[in-house]
């Protein structure tokens, strides 16, 4: 019992204990806040990539694409673990506003808007046709014109708060898209003649995937038109990728595995076909693998941040260690007295561990609470700072962040609190043990001199 009474008294009666408490609280606060924001950003980024891609992609590494995709789409459509399938054309093109001679290079993505909206988050990324995806490529100002959807950053600017300057009614814009058609062998199909396919499309909607790379470079065209432009609509039609969405109860790994098996079977069945060689460049990837290069960079930052915070943790252990070292030296008389009345070394170590746990618990409670409060208000704080001082943590004209993520993950919190308590224990037990091991006479004698 003395272990608890004394631990409490040391905690609340010694000013130096409050320093240890403050160190722990501050550390927990910083770790919780920064890790929450960072994890939030990473999760958010992953989720956007997931939404952009669907669950699984069967894709060719070559711009030539692969043949017989229609047969495979048919096979996939029949599978009951699959919710939606969307074949896609991917290529590059030059685009200019009609009447202007300025070109810019873009990625074109040919899709069936209904299929693609079921397989990915494409439909939700639209502005005018969010709830009416079948009419995606029908410009409101003239539904019979061939429409195109522009990555949002290609048409709109953002205000300082990061919001796009959307218009209530879409402006008429005609875009001339020039594409380089490729033969099945990969050669330019019109070599020596006109070389390019050119067609004019009309701005019918914009797509906001919140992925900077996509929003600033992708133009969506109707599937058949894109196929035609890219020279893939010959007697044997080709596509570049098939995006797949699984039913909600299907695990990503299982689903992708099943698709891979289906693909291998399909590929074997096509062996004798004329363009079977194109199928070799095709692979089945989960959305994570497909977007690997984008996500990996973000995850690397996350890992680096975690390492940095392990170092912050080490610093806290050291601070706690110093504080405990001071307290045990300060309280060596108490230790001598306790030992002289029959308290064991274990009892004294126990006393200081109780003290450490108390410091760790109170410190992390305080730090977590402050972190929670801060995260709760972080967006309003940022907004206030912006309104009064024009200060923004992330310049919204550059970063594709809406609000700062602030949902604390319970398991992160648990790990942080457990680590804080462990850190305190490490910091306390060592000096406690050292002090407890001293002979009581040495301590009591010294304080007699």
């Amino acid at each position: 019992m003395y272990k608890f009474i004394l631990a409490f008294r040391y905690m609340f009666r010694k000013r130096i204990s409050y320093f240890a408490l403050a160190a722990v609280a501050l550390c927990v606060f910083i770790v919780v806040v920064v890790m929450t924001i960072m994890n939030g950003l990473v999760d958010d980024f992953k989720q956007k990539n997931h939404s952009f891609t669907g669950d699984c992609v069967v894709q060719s590494e070559s711009l030539v694409g692969f043949a017989y995709y229609e047969d495979f789409v048919e096979i996939l459509d029949k599978e009951n673990f699959i919710a939606a399938v969307s074949p896609v054309i991917k290529s590059y093109a030059l685009v200019s506003l009609a009447g202007s001679s300025r070109n810019s290079g873009v990625e074109i993505t040919g899709i069936d808007p209904i299929r693609h909206s079921s397989a990915t988050g494409f439909g939700k990324s639209l502005y005018y046709h969010k709830n009416n995806t079948s009419k995606t490529f029908e410009p409101d100002y003239e539904p019979n014109l061939p429409g195109c959807v522009l990555g949002i950053d290609l048409v709109l600017t953002r205000n300082a708060k990061g919001q796009y300057n959307q218009r209530e009614f879409i402006l008429q814009k005609a875009l001339v898209v020039s594409c380089f058609p490729l033969t099945a062998k990969g050669a330019l199909s019109k070599a020596g003649t006109g070389l390019v396919n050119t067609k004019t499309f009309y701005y019918s909607d914009n797509s906001h995937s919140a992925l900077a790379s996509a929003d600033s470079s992708v133009i969506y065209l109707p599937f058949e038109q894109a196929q035609l432009l890219c020279g893939m609509a010959g007697s044997t039609k080709r596509a570049n990728a098939i995006h797949i969405k699984f039913k909600s109860n299907v695990k990503l790994k299982d689903g992708c595995g099943k698709v891979a098996v289906l693909w291998d079977k399909f590929k074997k069945a096509q062996q004798s076909q004329k363009q079977a060689a194109l199928l070799d460049a095709v692979s089945v990837k989960s959305w994570k693998d497909s977007r690997r290069s984008f996500i990996a960079a973000m995850e690397k930052e996350q890992i680096m941040l975690t390492i940095m915070f392990v170092l912050v943790g080490v610093t806290t252990v050291f601070i706690v260690f110093v504080v405990f070292y001071m307290i045990t030296s300060h309280k060596s008389k108490d230790i001598g007295i306790l030992k002289s009345v029959g308290v064991s070394v274990g009892g004294i170590v126990n006393l200081f561990s109780n003290f450490a746990i108390l410091v760790g618990l109170l410190g992390s409670a305080l730090g977590s609470f402050a972190g929670w409060l801060f995260l709760l208000k972080i967006n309003s704080i940022e907004q206030w700072l912006f309104e009064h001082f024009q200060f923004q943590l992330w310049d919204r004209t550059i970063y594709a962040i809406g609000s700062i993520p602030n949902r604390i993950e319970v398991d992160l919190l648990a790990v942080v609190i457990a680590s804080a308590i462990l850190a305190c224990l490490i910091g306390a037990v060592l000096p406690g043990w050292r002090a407890a091991k001293c002979k009581p006479v040495d301590i009591l004698q010294v304080s007699q001199l």
Binding site: M1, L6, S340, V341, G342, V343, L444, Q448
Partner: protein
Amino acid sequence: MNKENFILQAAELYKTYRLGKANVDVLKGVDLTINKGEFIAIVGASGSGKSTLLHILGTLDRSDKGEVSFAGQNLAKLKMRKLNKFRNKTIGFVFQFYHLLDELTVLENVLIPAMAQKSVFGWLFSRKTAKNRAKELLARFGLAGRIGHKPYQLSGGERQRVAIARALMNEPELLLADEPTGNLDSETGNGILKVFETLNKAGQTIVMVTHDEKIARRAGRIITLVDGKIENNV
């Protein structure tokens, strides 16, 4: 003197302190027998090794050579756990500088020996009895009104009486006191000695260390420590 009568016996105790390269031989063969119910004063010049001897008798320190036995049990043979229990149950220590825990109240200080060897549950069961005993002890020493005070709020004499109450908490068979009046004026010191006399009359065995012959004369037997040995047993 029959065997039942003595509770503590020391034979041929040697103790040497090493100070750098120099050796300080403090005890050079001390023989001592303490009988039940005795009030013994150990006197000697400052630095003659009185405290060292008392610490060895109370198991706070060990001799280099020789043997201390309590009720026939060789204390050197006790394991750590038994030794802690021995310190807790059998010995009560009173120091010159009181050595109270500053963060605890008077009552809590007195209760420490009762808590020392108990688990939280054990303590919850025995708490009432222990508190009553502590309060009764404090009342006996005229401290009934100060149980909630902190040591810094007490005078030297009062602190020493708290320390005595703490030493008596577990009803030890042997009370060891190292210069218990050394830090007090003579009147207050006299009060402490009266407490010892009363305790001794009630049967408490006491060994008290002092450098003051006058104080020593209050005890039943005086042992003089000279040159690391007991000079004469009166």
